[in-house]
Amino acid sequence: MKVKDLLTHGFEAVTLPDGDRDIDGVYIGDLLSWVMGRAQMDNAWITIMNNVNVIAVATLADTSCVILAEGVALSDDLVKTATDKDVNILCSQEPIYETAVRLAGLLS
């Protein structure tokens, strides 16, 4: 499944500079170093953190996209930063668990 395919399944695009990227697995976490140590390349990363360091971690850990759950928003300047760095960021209005369940159904 590609990142852009999530848009027809209840996820909203915040930034989508590389929508054709494939998703391989999911990681959930808010502690950035924990995510750096455990998330795998091409994972979709579900979090409620929305500061600039999330963009750096997504870039360096090479996740396929960040999914901001619980309706968490991203400031305009961070939208620009993420776009400039080719980081896909999606938003889910659902809580983290429901977001993960929805993704699991789509990826299975």
Partner: protein, 141 residues
Amino acid sequence: MSDALVFHFDVDGENFTSAGQASTQVKKNLRQLGLSPAIIRRVSIAMYEGEINMVIHANGGTAEVMVTEDYIDIVLKDTGPGIPNVEQAMQEGFSTATDSIRSLGFGAGMGLPNMKRYTDSMNIDTVIGEGTTITMRVNLT
């Protein structure tokens, strides 16, 4: 690549907005050199963790990345307070970060363990009151 390529960066202290710039630049440079995504990811993560540590604990420092045919060396130097107990600092979950740092998503106590996890060797040279130098190597062969 017959000669070593060296990249040098200055890391600002207590600036979480620019933290990660050096690691991101290294990632770009390594990509241009045609290295594998897996190697680039390991180097980038190890360097980012070191960069963040310097921002949080040492008021910044310098980072040097040397790329040869056989390995990539990352040398992180700071003139911060030093690490009183390296063995303790290497334990997953141990952190001396403040609550304000934790609110940014840092301070999980995974920085040094991640640096070790993603590199083939790591050496910590630290002197209390003088600073810390961390040298990491990722083998390419």
